[in-house]
Amino acid sequence: MASSTQSSSLWHKHAIFEKNSIILVIGIIVAIAWGGLVEIVPLFYLKSTIEKVDGVRPYTPLELAGYNIYVREGCYLCHSQMIRPLRDEVERYGHYSLAAESMYDHPFQWGSKRNGPDLARVGGKYSDDWHRDHLRNPRAVVPASIMPSYPWLEKTPLDSTHIGDQMKTLSVVGVPYTQEMIDSAEADLKAQGAGDGKAATALVKRYPKTVVRDLTAEKDGLTELDALVAYLQHLGTQVDFKLYDDKANIR
């Protein structure tokens, strides 16, 4: 509330910034650098922010393809994947989300809006058929639902030609996809949707606890719906909370 520039008190020193654009730019850089130093840098070295959790693995190629569809259709606009450590959320959705559970999501799907329920632990909560019925027309199973229908997903063949490239890119930013995983991406993707077999055994060896389904019995090839269901059924199932130590990260 400087009503005068006469005073030479500290309060009025900001006039230096306002009148010299170079000094202003330097001032902005210093302020942002300090903010970054305090808020971002510790996340890379503080033990409590980079908690290692058993069971977390990168997505299988089919789950990754489903993740892509989840992002493409904007599911995150109405569904969060972030169970906060609050009583009512833990009561409804299960154990609160751990940072490690979304560490291989680029970008993460925490979301900030809950027109629909949180999906962080939706995996295994409903049957595959339910997900198919529900995505085709949510009103068929939940009459009061306001979710849009996604009928084209089951009619659109899944394009998996670039899934290996995407895994290669993700490996650059720290997702531990091995060269072997990248090379067998398309084979793994098909194996997860084709039921039992040698290829499926190899897939489960590379990606522990993967659920393999026979999805091609009634049609040729996999659809986008198959990938999305595989992704949804995987959500929140990686960490075994019977073994997870709740107190490990409480000081």
Partner: protein, 293 residues
């Protein structure tokens, strides 16, 4: 832009100007409202209080812990403990009681129904409906027509281990063959069986239907699970075909489609997701909806 040495005052409003002037238009230097400014200062002071009370500043090996050691993860543990203190006594009684005792004890029954109702709304309603009325492919739980049995023990078994849920070894399993897709029956044979199945519950048939042929095919292909009389077998989850309750629809097209693709609905095993007491409450809730045996 004039460099002000004297405070200039706008004659019309009596307010000081910043000294900036463009084409005779001066910029008023109206001070911020006092209440706003003091609220702003107060928030700054408040933030200092936050630094002291809550975890705040990062350091080299850790961060400031806050004066009272508050932590989001321990806070929720405490909240859940508090909740357990309220629910605990009721849950302990429920856990100790046998299933059939619960229904005879009005106090326990009320507790189980309230607890089971909440669990049902969260976990079961998406498939079975908010009023347990079901949907096409998802059984109605209000009636007395049960796929896997409607006794308390049967219901508990189904909830705990699910149906056709491969991850659970004790799951209810059986799979109707895909008579059409896998070429076990021809299209005209399926049409006749479908017509015969409709006749079992007194539904009208198409005029050209060969019911005798349908009956013969039913006896050799379907009766092993659905029974010679079509009344179903709960041991294998085969529905009763003689009643008016249809899981996938009673029209000819729906029946033909079901014979074509076979299979059956899946239900998740809730044993790994819900604790045994909640499953007990759910069992009593579902049993008490109207159709419990």
């Amino acid at each position: 832009m004039a460099n002000a040495t004297e405070p200039r005052v706008d004659a019309r409003t009596g307010t000081a100007t910043t000294g900036h002037e463009w084409d005779g238009i001066a910029e008023l230097n109206t001070p911020l409202p006092r209440w706003w400014l003091w609220t702003f200062y107060l928030t700054i002071v408040w933030s200092i209080g936050y630094w002291i009370v809550y975890p705040a500043w990062p350091g080299v090996t850790g961060f400031t812990q806050g004066a009272f050691g508050w932590h989001a993860r321990s806070a929720v543990v405490d909240d859940l403990k508090e909740l357990q203190a309220i629910r605990g006594p009721g849950e302990a009684k429920l856990a100790a009681a046998k299933l059939d005792e619960i229904e005879k004890n009005p106090e326990l029954l009320a507790f189980a129904r309230a607890s089971g109702g909440a669990a049902f709304a969260n976990n079961c309603a998406p498939c079975h409906g908010a009023g347990a009325q079901g949907a096409v492919g998802y059984p109605n739980l209000n009636d007395d027509d049960w796929l896997w049995g409607g006794s308390l023990d049967d219901i508990q078994q189904t909830i705990t281990h699910g149906a056709r849920w491969d991850a659970d070894k004790a799951t209810r399993s059986s799979l109707m063959p895909a008579f059409g897709r896998d070429g076990i029956l021809k299209a005209d044979e399926i049409a006749n069986v479908a017509q015969y199945v409709r006749s079992l519950s007194g539904l009208p048939n198409e005029t050209n239907a060969n019911l005798a042929k349908g009956k013969e095919l039913f006896a050799t292909n379907c009766a092993v699970c659905h029974g010679d009389d079509g009344k179903g077998k709960q041991e294998v989850g085969a529905p009763n075909l003689t009643d008016k309750i249809w899981l996938y629809g009673s029209d000819t097209a729906s029946i033909v489609n079901r014979i074509n693709v076979g299979g059956g609905g899946q239900m998740p095993a809730w044993g790994g997701r819900l604790d045994p007491t909640t499953i007990k409450a759910l069992t009593v809730y579902v049993h008490s909806l109207g159709g419990g045996k």
